[in-house]
Every structure is written in structure tokens, then in C-alpha cells.
């Protein structure tokens, strides 16, 4: 009895203390929770969001797509192939181990084993440890994107991840589909530690007491992340005050959230491009540039953005969004039905033809409706479309088999660089090099390919920009594919939760710097 009483008293006391410290707790809801605590298991938005909460990269993107030093305090180019990084001193991992160059080397090696991340680190030949706080990254060829790619290097605690776990497996083992040590616990240098995790239900983060960044304004001590898959439920949870912060916000609910004076909506023009590809191997007519141009003239991007996306997208005439080096501001959407019909006539297809089209119905915002709109726009130039939509799980198999004449694909450049779009979506498909892996149209322009290779080794940003803008122009003139729009991003938060400064176009909010005003 006495024991119970004293326990109760203790509990009451600690409650009172906790309230006195003015601890801010953030409850947030995303559409999914991270697949794993292993930052190298899957290259996805969820993993990146988790990494920025629990780890720190050497450098990170700032709001204007510039670089901000994190665990690397500064860097300098030694020669064409070498970049030297000076690491921050006095940083500790969650486990208490000090952070040094050996952790960076450990992480670098591990990244190169990861099926998902090895592509990003393929241009590097080695990481040389100079001393405890200096490293050098060497590339095989002159490489312009060293800093872009280093935003993916989140040093892991090498000591914490060495040795073997209870099953006798090495703790640093990278497992895609099993129960590994690294997928269940983590030790990074980031602002938060994972206090509790129930996969698919909730993750609780706690502020790391020894976080190195003392200049961070962040005042959130606890974050509870709940995945809420259904968009209406997510919005309802915010409006009813059950959570403080949600993402993504579906376009249909924007007006409702804007009209509510207890919450804020923040939108940003995104970098994911949505396109259609026209398969030249399946359809003879698509080999004719005039027919492809006719299709390009027949599509009303602005109409789609206005009517289907409700303004929640930016109409596109190219792949590179504004802010990317390759963005060519001269290129504009070219909707002109008369011109489209003329081109069809010129090419000898006045009476049109029939094609098949496939699109996912749960991958991109409004993907199914967009495909329907494109199909009906094509009907106006006598191209009859046989449209089939399906869940993404089935869609990607069909896409790999190039199962339809026109297929939808959206793309976000992992490197935040234009060349990534070109290499995956429009380069001549080549199974050996992996170029054109997602070029279901089989569009092939050797000249453009040559420029892509050039851009890969050009370290002068000015010249690179010129090269990549030329590529965009070539693809535009050739109507290599049909760009539709860049999907915007949207978040919503309770008033007082000052999320705007920590959001960015990559959609990995820097939660460590989040401020909640009372």
C-alpha cells in the first residue's frame, strides 16, 4: 500500500516537473512511416526524412538549393579529382561515442554495398582518411556533383554498428528483407533519437541531449509520428486537433484548410516531373518527329493543372524545374490544337490511329484523371486511346515490360540535378550501362547522349548549365516525351507550429530546427 502511494506520488511529481520545463511535443502524421531504421536499406522519401531527424549529413541543401555545412565544417577542391572535407569537432553520437573520420569512412563503405545507394556513390573511387577530422573524396573522373551526392552521406556510428548481434550476424549487415540489427536500432549524430517504434503504427522521437548544433533554434523535445494513409483521415486529424502537422495535403482539401483559422497551409512548387512517353518501337507513327510534336501540341498542360490539379502543380515544358542548372527558361508549354492537326496531316496521319495507354492510379497526385484527360485531348487529333490504369504495385511490372504505347512516369532527380532526368528517362536505352532504364519510349538521340556524358565531367557550373539547357532544347524540339507538370508539395500545421522555415523542396523537413511557439 505504502509502496503504491509513494509510486503515485513520484509519478505525480515527475508529471509536475515535466510540465514545468515547458516541454514541446509535436504530433505529426505522414502518409507512411519509415520502412526501416537502417538509413541504407531503401532510397526513398521516408528514409531521407528519418535520416535528417536522427542523423546528420556532411552537407545539406538549404532552401535555395545551395549547400549548408553540417558535419563537414568546410571543404575545398584539391584538384580535378579530389575534394577535401574538414569535419566538425566535438560531435557525439547517440551512443556517446565521439564522431571522427573513421565513422565517415565506415559509412562510405557501407553505402557502396547498398543496392539503393551504390549508384549515387559510383563516381567516387575512394575515401581517404587524412587525420581524425579530415577526409578526402576522390572521383574516378572529374565530377561536378560531389557536394550533391555528399548530401546522402549521413555518418553512422561505426563503433555502435560493429560486432555481432544476438543472432550472430554482424551488426552492420545490410539486409533488404529481414530482421537485422541496423534495421531496428540506430545511433547517429542527429537531433532526435528513436525512443519507441511500432512499425506502421507510431514512432516516438526524443530530443538528443548532447546534440552538437547548439545554434539550432529547435525547441521540440518529443515528436510522435503516426502514419495515416488515408488523406481525408489525415486532414480530419489535423482539423480536429489530434495532430499538429501533416503531409502530404491532397489538393481537394486545400481550400478547406486555408479557410480554417486554426491551421496553416504551406505549398511549394515541387521538383517531381510527370510525363508521358511515346513508344517508338511499338508504334511506327511515333518514330516520326512530326507525330510526336502533334501530340505535344495537343496536350493542354495549363488546362490539366487548372482543372484536375486545382492549381496545385506547375505546368511544364521540360524536365528540369526552376532552380536546376538545366532549367531552360525559354521553353514554354505549346498547346495549339490547330498546329497539332496540321502536323498530323503533314505526317500523313490525318485520320489518326489507335494506341494503348497505361498509367498508375495510386502513385502520383490524380494520376488516373490526368491520364483520362490526356486521352481525351488526343482524341481531338484523331488518336484513339485505349486507356488502362492500375495500382502502382502492378503498374511497374507493366512499365518494365513496356506493355503499352504510351506510359506515364513521374521522376524526381535523387541528385537534384538535370542530368539525372536525362540519363534515366531519355537516354538511348542500354542494359549494360543502365542508361535509359525508364525510357519506355525508346527515344534515342546520340547527340543528346554525347552531351549528357560531357555534362557528367564538366566541373564549371556555367558550362554545365549551358550543356544541359541545350539538351532540354533538343528534347523539346524533338518532342522526345510529353512533359505535363511538376507536382507541388503541401504541408499543413496548427498555428504556432512554425514549420515553414524547416520545409524544403526535397520534402525532408529539418525537424531538428522546428520551433513551436506557445
Amino acid at each position: 500500500m505504502n509502496k503504491t502511494l509513494s509510486m503515485l506520488a513520484g509519478a505525480a511529481l515527475s508529471l509536475g516537473l515535466a510540465a514545468g520545463v515547458n516541454a514541446a511535443t509535436l504530433k505529426m502524421a505522414y502518409d507512411a512511416d519509415p520502412v526501416s531504421l537502417d538509413p541504407h536499406e531503401q532510397l526513398s522519401g521516408g528514409t531521407m526524412q528519418l535520416s535528417h531527424m536522427t542523423f546528420d549529413p556532411l552537407v545539406r541543401w538549404d532552401k535555395d538549393l545551395g549547400f549548408e555545412p553540417r558535419l563537414a565544417e568546410k571543404w575545398e577542391r584539391i584538384d580535378d579529382l579530389t575534394m577535401r572535407f574538414y569535419l566538425r569537432k566535438g560531435v557525439t553520437f547517440h551512443s556517446g561515442n565521439p564522431f571522427t573520420a573513421k565513422d565517415v569512412a565506415f559509412t562510405f563503405e557501407r553505402l557502396r554495398q547498398s543496392p539503393d545507394f551504390k549508384g549515387i556513390f559510383a563516381p567516387f573511387s575512394e575515401l581517404k582518411v587524412i587525420d581524425d577530422y579530415t577526409i578526402e573524396l576522390k572521383t574516378k573522373k572529374p565530377f561536378p556533383l560531389v557536394l550533391n551526392n555528399v548530401t546522402y552521406l549521413f555518418p553512422m556510428d561505426s563503433e555502435f554498428y560493429s560486432g555481432t548481434d544476438a543472432n550472430g550476424e554482424p551488426k552492420d549487415k545490410l539486409v533488404k528483407h529481414g530482421n537485422s540489427f541496423a534495421s531496428r536500432q540506430l545511433s547517429g549524430t542527429g537531433p532526435y533519437t528513436v525512443a519507441e517504434r511500432q512499425q506502421g503504427v507510431r514512432v516516438e522521437f526524443e530530443r538528443f541531449g548532447n546534440y552538437w548544433d547548439e545554434n539550432s533554434p529547435g525547441n521540440v523535445d518529443e515528436i510522435i509520428l503516426t502514419p495515416i494513409k488515408e488523406a481525408p483521415t489525415r486532414v480530419a486529424a489535423l482539423l480536429s486537433g489530434d495532430v499538429d502537422f501533416i503531409a502530404p495535403v491532397p489538393p481537394t482539401d486545400h481550400r478547406r484548410i486555408e479557410g480554417n483559422d486554426k491551421v496553416n497551409l504551406i505549398t511549394m512548387s515541387g521538383t517531381r516531373i510527370i510525363t508521358f512517353q511515346m513508344n517508338q518501337e511499338r508504334v511506327e507513327a511515333f518514330k516520326d518527329a512530326r507525330v510526336r510534336q502533334a501530340v505535344a501540341y495537343a496536350i493542354n498542360q495549363e488546362g490539366i493543372v487548372k482543372k484536375i490539379m486545382r492549381g496545385f502543380a506547375t505546368p511544364a515544358a521540360q524536365m528540369s524545374p526552376e532552380g536546376y542548372l538545366g532549367h531552360n527558361s525559354a521553353l514554354k508549354p505549346r498547346y495549339d490544337l490547330k498546329k497539332a492537326r496540321e502536323l498530323m496531316k503533314e505526317a500523313g496521319y490525318e485520320d489518326g490511329f489507335t494506341i494503348s495507354m497505361m498509367a498508375p492510379n495510386n502513385r502520383y497526385v490524380n494520376d488516373e484523371k490526368i491520364a483520362q484527360a490526356v486521352a481525351s485531348m488526343l482524341a481531338k487529333i484523331n488518336i484513339k486511346v485505349d486507356l488502362k490504369t492500375m495500382p502502382k504495385a502492378q503498374y511497374w511490372g507493366e512499365f518494365d515490360e513496356r506493355a503499352a504505347d504510351m506510359m506515364m512516369i513521374g521522376w524526381h532527380a535523387d541528385t537534384e540535378d538535370s542530368n539525372n532526368f536525362f540519363e534515366f528517362l531519355t537516354a538511348c536505352p542500354d542494359a549494360d550501362t543502365g542508361l535509359g532504364q525508364y525510357n519506355s519510349g525508346n527515344y534515342c538521340n546520340p547527340e543528346a547522349d554525347k552531351l549528357m556524358v560531357e555534362a557528367n565531367t564538366e566541373t564549371d557550373p556555367q558550362k554545365r548549365a549551358e550543356i544541359m539547357q541545350t539538351i532540354e532544347q533538343m528534347l523539346y524540339d524533338d518532342a522526345a516525351f510529353i512533359p505535363l507538370h511538376w507536382q507541388n508539395l503541401a504541408w499543413a500545421a496548427r498555428k504556432g507550429v512554425n514549420v515553414e522555415p524547416v520545409l524544403n523542396v526535397m520534402n525532408f523537413p529539418y525537424m531538428g530546427d522546428l520551433v513551436i511557439e506557445e
Binding site: 520502412v35 531503401q42 543496392p115 506502421g200 480536429s240 518494365d400 525508364y438
Partner: protein, 325 residues
């Protein structure tokens, strides 16, 4: 009784076997699990290698044989997403679903019997007509719409009820995580239970009403009236008991169906149960989890039907469970 059980067990084994074949053979049409496991820029060669490691490139019979061998030892495979045995994942979510079904059943039973009986006895009263009218509406609105409507009114507009999730839960000593013993947990249970009940409740009211009306026309009820029995005794002892026979049969089947409806309710309310888990598994092409779910749900169907048959025997002694001797 024993003969009945043995027969049922044999039937159950055949049913489970058929379910396992069907669910195992559709998995190739659900999509490529690799797609959900790796990032967009991973090369095809890399994917093939992972597929080999997972044994996804083996012929169907080899894969199925491996599955059956493991399944007989109680291992239904390891979930790709949760990285834990699929059966454990499902069983961990089972309490949430059962509590939801329990909440809904409670609403259905406590409301459908009095309402059904009342509207059978007084078919012309305005109250009966209102009940019937509402039941038509209830039966024709899809459950997810009811759910969204409830959230809109009670969570957003009025702010009385929580909008999602299970709330605070307590771990019972035998590993059952329950929300029934905390005020917060009970509050979270109300809206999901109501929306899950919204489909079945009208069905049961109508069923009880129709059966009851038929029974009230029968000879023995007329005889009871003639005998001068008290009306309460006629309605609730003689008539109701005979009304309940078909209701129990339908009820047993419907409990199984209710498990299926939980998929929608749980998804809208983000209720961390089996149905929600299943839908997520389909989206993620988590095939081991999908197969295990189908098998577990199949088992629930078999078990509930067996229990229904047993109860049926208790309510109506003329039913011979083991067949004529």
C-alpha cells in the same frame, strides 16, 4: 458430438488447403515486391539478384512446396515490410480487430433485437416506420462514407470524438493489447464501431422483423393467444425464440463478413488492426503477409461457422449435428 468435430476438422483442413493454393497462386499477379523494396534508380541486374536471394525466381511448385513445408511447422513466411514472421505480425493486430468487431456486435445485438421485435409487433406505428426508413438509408450508404461523415461531424465540427487510431491501450498479462480498459481507448472505439455496425444493424433489424412477423402468423402463436397467455410471454418466449434460429445462422456468417468490412473501417479510422494491415500489405506487395492474412481469415470463418452450428444445436434440439444415424 465427437463425430461432428472430426468431420468439421477434416473440412477445415481441405478449406485451408484450397485457400493456401489460391492465395499463393494469385501472388504473382499482385505486382513485384522488389519494386516496393528498392529505390527507383536501382538497376535491373541488382533487382534480379535480390529476387534470386528471395527465391522469387523459382518455379511455382518449388515455391509452394517450400511454403507448405514451413506452414506445417507454423511458419507462414516473413513479412517483407515488418521483417517479422507474418503470423506474429497478424496475431499482434488481431486484438484490435476483434475489439472493433466486438464493439460493433454489441451495438448490433443491443439495438437490433428490441427494434426488430418492436417493429414486428407494431408494424404501423410511426416509430417502426422511422426505424425502417433509417435502416434503408443505413444499408445503402457505403461504410467508408458513413465513417467519413461521422469523423466530420463528431471530430471536426463538434470535437467530441477522436478522429483516428486506437488511443491509449493497456497490455494484458497474456499479451493482449486492449483499449477496452481506458477511457481514451473506449472513446476511440465508438466511431469505428458505429460505422462498422451501420451496415449490419439494418440487416438484422429487417431480418428479425420479417422472421418475427412470420412467426406471429403461425398456428401455435394463434393458439397461445386463444389460450389467454400474457402477451409478453407470447412475444418473448414463444415467438422470439423461434425467430432467432435463422438470425443465428445469418449472424454467424455475417461475423465473418464483418471481418472483411473491417478493412474499410480500419483504413478510414487508421485503426491498427488486421484489415488495415491487409490493405497496406497489398499496397506494398508484401506477399507473405497477404497469404498469411487470407489463411488466418479463412480459419476465422471456419471457426465461427463451427461455433454457430454448435449454438444452433443448443437453441434447437431437433437439429442433429452429426447427421442421421
Amino acid at each position: 458430438m465427437i463425430a461432428f468435430f472430426i468431420k468439421r476438422l477434416a473440412q477445415a483442413i481441405v478449406v485451408m488447403f484450397v485457400i493456401s493454393i489460391i492465395s499463393f497462386s494469385i501472388q504473382d499477379n499482385l505486382g513485384d515486391p522488389l519494386r516496393e523494396m528498392v529505390g527507383q534508380s536501382v538497376s535491373e541486374a541488382e533487382r534480379q539478384q535480390l529476387r534470386d536471394e528471395l527465391g522469387l525466381n523459382d518455379p511455382f511448385l518449388v515455391q509452394y512446396g517450400r511454403f507448405v513445408k514451413n506452414a506445417l511447422q507454423g511458419d507462414l513466411g516473413t513479412s517483407y515490410f515488418f521483417k517479422e514472421p507474418a503470423l506474429d505480425v497478424i496475431l499482434a493486430k488481431l486484438p484490435a480487430t476483434l475489439e472493433l468487431v466486438f464493439g460493433a456486435s454489441l451495438i448490433i445485438i443491443t439495438l437490433s433485437v428490441p427494434l426488430g421485435v418492436y417493429s414486428a409487433i407494431n408494424p404501423q406505428s410511426w416509430f417502426s416506420k422511422t426505424v425502417m426508413g433509417f435502416s434503408i438509408v443505413g444499408i445503402s450508404i457505403p461504410v467508408f462514407l458513413t465513417a467519413i461523415g461521422l469523423i466530420y461531424f463528431f471530430s471536426i465540427e463538434l470535437g467530441w470524438m477522436p478522429s483516428y487510431g486506437r488511443g491509449e491501450t493497456v497490455m494484458l498479462p497474456w499479451g493482449w493489447e486492449t483499449g477496452l480498459f481506458t477511457a481514451d481507448g473506449l472513446a476511440h472505439l465508438v466511431l469505428p464501431s458505429v460505422s462498422l455496425a451501420s451496415i449490419m444493424l439494418p440487416l438484422f433489424i429487417r431480418l428479425i422483423r420479417a422472421e418475427m412477423m412470420e412467426v406471429l402468423q403461425s398456428e401455435y402463436v394463434k393458439f397461445a393467444w386463444a389460450k389467454g397467455l400474457h402477451s409478453r410471454r407470447i412475444y418473448f418466449l414463444h415467438a422470439l425464440k423461434n425467430t432467432m434460429l435463422p438470425v443465428i445462422t445469418v449472424g454467424g456468417v455475417q461475423i465473418g463478413t464483418m471481418v472483411a468490412y473491417t478493412i474499410l473501417t480500419e483504413t478510414v479510422f487508421q485503426w491498427p488492426g488486421m484489415g488495415f494491415l491487409f490493405l497496406e500489405a497489398i499496397n506494398r506487395v508484401d506477399t507473405p503477409l497477404i497469404v498469411a492474412y487470407l489463411i488466418v481469415v479463412g480459419a476465422i470463418f471456419v471457426i465461427t461457422n463451427t461455433i454457430v452450428d454448435l449454438i444452433y444445436g443448443l437453441v434447437n434440439p431437433t437439429v442433429n449435428l452429426a447427421g442421421k444415424k
